[in-house]
């Protein structure tokens, strides 16, 4: 069982600069050929004025900070038994090449379900203008309890 005193614990922000080729590579890896990501002229002519990142590129810029929780020496998670149970992303503004995204992570819930421990981790990403662009909510299950 994980001590519930860690509910509310926050982790230091991570910074990620969105690269045009990197987000295209991600789109390619999920078989997504949309011109919104791949065609510069199309992007320029779109209502966004540029290419935008595939929404699920949040798996990279929004979730990268998870490592600091996984390796947190106070929390001592049994990483070998950890599985990603659920993921939710909420997209508030499009993300574009050149955007510098700052993401903070916070443990918002710790619960026991059967033999398993479940941690809910919230990640909030803002762009260089301070606008909130993406909110993630991940649940991680530690099978057999921590």
């Amino acid at each position: 069982m994980i001590d519930h005193k860690f509910i509310g614990k926050e982790y230091p922000p991570t910074e990620y600069e969105i690269g045009r080729e990197k987000m295209k590579e991600y789109a390619h890896a999920i078989n997504d050929a949309s011109p919104f990501y791949h065609d510069r002229q199309f992007g320029k002519g779109s209502l966004y004025g540029d290419n935008i990142a595939p929404p699920n590129f949040a798996a990279v810029y929004n979730l990268m900070g998870c490592a600091s929780m996984f390796m947190d020496p106070d929390l001592k998670l049994n990483y070998a038994m950890l599985v990603h149970g659920e993921q939710e992303f909420e997209w508030l503004k499009p993300v574009k090449p050149g955007d510098v995204i700052t993401t903070t992570g916070k443990i918002v819930d710790i619960a026991e379900k059967g033999n398993n421990d479940v941690i809910t981790y919230e990640t909030r990403s803002t762009n260089q203008e301070g606008d909130l662009v993406t909110v993630g909510r991940a649940t991680f299950v530690i099978r057999g309890g921590n």
């Binding site: 590579e25 999920i30 997504d32 699920n56 659920e86």
Partner: protein, 138 residues
């Protein structure tokens, strides 16, 4: 043709997306996402830890689920929310099918939102993504 809010009804299904996974796709996703956990890239390691080989990244299935919805609305900026549960493992050789069905329509403060239930399953009917929900703004 673009999706029309007026013409949509609860129960409408969106076009499915199907793909057969290959190990190369898992390597590509590892490179694109930075997640090189050996359970995704190293067959021998996957066998040693009792997984019977490599398993696909759950987030790659989520990404393909997002693609299925954004292909339907023809504008990825319209996807406002996606939630999935990683219910089962997918492996190279599996053919995954991604599906969505309209469950609700609402208009609030000038924005027109459509809610869908979404899921993904293998060729054997094993649900890989369950309890999925997507919200798009039209």
């Amino acid at each position: 043709m673009a999706v029309s809010f007026e013409e949509l009804s609860v129960g409408d299904e969106i076009p499915v997306f199907s793909i057969t996974l290959e190990q190369m796709m898992l390597w590509q996703y590892a490179g694109a996402s930075g997640d090189f956990n050996p359970i995704h890239v190293d067959k021998e390691f996957g066998e040693q830890v009792g997984l019977g080989g490599t398993i696909a990244h759950g987030l790659s299935s989520m990404g393909r689920m997002a693609k299925t919805v954004t292909d339907w609305v023809e504008d990825p900026g319209r996807l406002k929310k996606l939630k999935v549960r990683f219910a089962a493992l997918a492996r190279p050789g599996d053919t995954l099918t991604f599906k969505g069905r309209v469950t609700g329509k609402s208009e609030e403060g000038g924005s027109r939102l459509v809610t869908l239930e979404v899921e993904a399953e293998t060729q054997d009917g094993v649900k890989v993504l369950t309890r999925g929900e997507a919200v798009v703004e039209l």
